[in-house]
């Protein structure tokens, strides 16, 4: 029987001569038992092939279930990843390299210069010193009230510090009033216009930015107090 199956296998493997093939075909037609063996061989090969396919299809289905998320070609992902990285670099470069805006510069200036007031800058009056001490201790409202009272006679030093105190308190309207009064005074060195510009840049309302720019231009051109800082800003 094994020899018979070996012959059948040789036939399907195209290993028989033409004469042997003809003999094989003839035997199929005349020998029922032999034909049954050929059918058995075909059924086995076909059947197991089908079984294998069914198994593999089930395994593929399992793979598909494990890959339920939308499949994207890795090359496509790489292109997207590269694009995202380039965009991030461009964005970061822009953020770091771009010229800081005027309001940012104003914020930085206020932070650096209006956090602690120098006592030597103040007058010798003890009330002034007390107000400066309160300001430096963070008691801005109390300091502002004292500077306000001292500014009643349009004392430029008191007007300046009162304006700075209100600026720190984000009370821009009152700060502007003080700096405008200061600006109008005829002094050898008057920071009024510069501080007014800073206040407008902090307030950022309606036309504030345009007005601040005009004031900064004026300070720069007329070399008023603050012009060196404005040059540093690159205006």
């Amino acid at each position: 029987m094994e020899n018979e199956l070996a012959l059948i296998e040789s036939f399907f493997n195209n290993e028989l001569t033409e004469a042997e093939r003809q003999e094989f075909e003839k035997r199929c037609a005349t020998d029922e038992a032999f034909a049954e063996s050929v059918a058995l061989y075909v059924k086995a090969k076909y059947g197991f092939k089908q079984l294998h396919r069914n198994q593999r299809k089930a395994e593929f289905e399992e793979l598909r279930r494990n890959n339920q998320a939308p499949m994207v070609a890795e090359t496509t992902v790489r292109y997207w990843a590269a694009a995202v990285v380039i965009l991030c670099i461009a964005l970061l470069s822009w953020l770091y390299l771009k010229e800081p805006s005027l309001p940012t510069l104003a914020d930085e200036y206020v932070q650096e210069n209006f956090t602690v007031l120098s006592t030597t800058m103040s007058s010798e009056k003890s009330t002034f010193k007390q107000a400066v001490a309160l300001f430096n201790a963070g008691k801005l409202s109390e300091a502002a009230t004292i500077f306000d009272s001292l500014a009643e006679n349009n004392n430029p030093e008191a007007l300046k510090y009162a304006g700075i105190s209100y600026l720190r308190l984000d009370n821009y309207t009152v700060a502007l009033e003080h700096f405008e009064t200061l600006q109008k005074q005829s002094l050898q060195s008057n920071p009024g216009a510069f501080y007014k510009a800073l206040t407008l840049l902090k307030r950022k309302q309606n036309n504030d930015l345009a007005e601040a720019k005009k004031l900064l231009e004026q300070v720069k051109n007329e070399k008023l107090e603050g012009w060196q800082e404005i040059e540093k800003w690159g205006l």
């Binding site: 197991f48 079984l51 069914n54 598909r64 939308p70």
Partner: protein
């Protein structure tokens, strides 16, 4: 989130499949996973159900694997194009089958006809008649009764693994033993019938 597709090149996959042995299945799976997005294409372009598209895609991959093993795939077109043609044809066959409710030529009959075409018309009709006496489901049920060892051996054989590969995969002592064991297993089927 999405998942990444395996990035093996087609030639890596073809080489891996042709290498045979246990590695073959790994590369077959890679091929299956690489073009999984065909399933969505099938649903969109041919308006078939997703499970139908998935089944057609599995058939497509298995057909392509057969063609790779038998060197019928000659790489005249890219593997992707080749797969896409088979996939599209099978989708169209499925649609026709659904529309006419008539058995369109399916892969199953192609499989059988591959073997039948080896014989002259006369022999074909004799063998065909004997095979048709048994329904396919009944045939598969019988084959499952042959015992695990024989089943494993015959599955590999039917799937185109050479005796030398089977020798290594199932730890037989020689190629001749593989061949004799295979004959005995086929003969064992006769007793089951």
């Amino acid at each position: 989130m999405f998942q990444l597709l395996p990035n093996d090149t087609d030639s890596d996959i073809i080489e891996g499949i042709l290498k045979g042995g246990r590695e073959r299945q790994k590369y077959e799976n890679k091929l299956y996973e690489k073009y999984l997005y065909f399933i969505k294409d099938g649903v969109r372009k041919h308006q078939i159900e997703e499970h139908e598209s998935a089944s057609v895609y599995s058939d497509t991959i298995l057909t392509a694997i057969d063609h790779i093993i038998s060197h019928r795939f000659e790489a005249r077109a890219s593997l992707k194009t080749y797969l896409f043609q088979i996939f599209s044809n099978q989708c169209v066959s499925l649609i026709r089958k659904k529309a006419t409710n008539r058995a369109a030529p399916t892969y199953d009959t192609v499989l059988l006809s591959d073997l039948m075409n080896m014989m002259t018309d006369n022999t074909q009709s004799i063998i065909q008649r004997l095979i048709e006496q048994e329904e396919e489901s009944s045939l598969l049920q019988r084959l499952n009764k042959i015992g695990e060892k024989c089943k494993e051996l015959l599955l590999l054989w039917a799937n185109g693994h050479a005796d030398k590969e089977i020798l290594e995969m199932l730890a037989y002592s020689s190629v001749d033993v593989v061949k004799v064991s295979r004959m005995r297993c086929i003969d064992k089927l006769r007793k089951i019938y």
